[in-house]
Amino acid sequence: MIQFTKNVAVLTLFAATLVGCSGVSIIPFDQEGPKKTYPPVPASQVLIYKTVKPFKNYVELGQISRRTKNGVNMESVFESLREEAGKYGAEAIIGFGISSTTATETTMKRVCMNNICTMRPEMTTVSYHNCSGTMIRKK
């Protein structure tokens, strides 16, 4: 049982590392004033487009983005963007795009030889992905 719990914990940690910790951030545009709020839209009704504009006349509510580490799970990204954009009152996200960067991170790794353990730096390459778009609402 303990072994099973350990395995589950290791797998969860591995999955979390793979997908990376992520959060959605919003930069409001305040085109209709900083105090203007909009009624929420159900996440399932929020549209996401890269090249198409679903409405002729719209107000841009802000820039929405989600950052992920070491890979992009599109379903998860779309789900979280829809959720947060809907709460903000957006009916669609347009101009969706992804920009990725790679970086080298140094972590200290415990290395043991002949019962003598030392900490050694280990270089790993990680990639960061920023998935973003503009939140809009029909005028």
Binding site: S44, K50, V72, M74, S127
Partner: protein, 106 residues
Amino acid sequence: MIMKNYLKVLSSISVLASGCASAQFSTSKVGSLYAPRRTPEQIEIYQTQGPKKKYEEIGIVYACCGHTDAMVELMKKKAAECGGDAIYSLQDTGAHSMNASVLRFE
């Protein structure tokens, strides 16, 4: 038996050649599904201007971790599977990944 091993070697070579790339598709509208009607070879590619005929964007395709040509092939395959007729606005995302919108003609 020899045939089996031969196939194994062939599939390993094709995986290595594609650089283990993979593609994902997400729909623009939640719950919308489109029946496939083209083969990957029939998927048209548009980059700086969209098709002249009427179309709708049905989703976005994202490919990762391979050579550009392998990723484009995978994006076309995924677009075909998901009912697309064309891919538009191929964007090199960086870190060996690409994305594009998937179009379906009216």
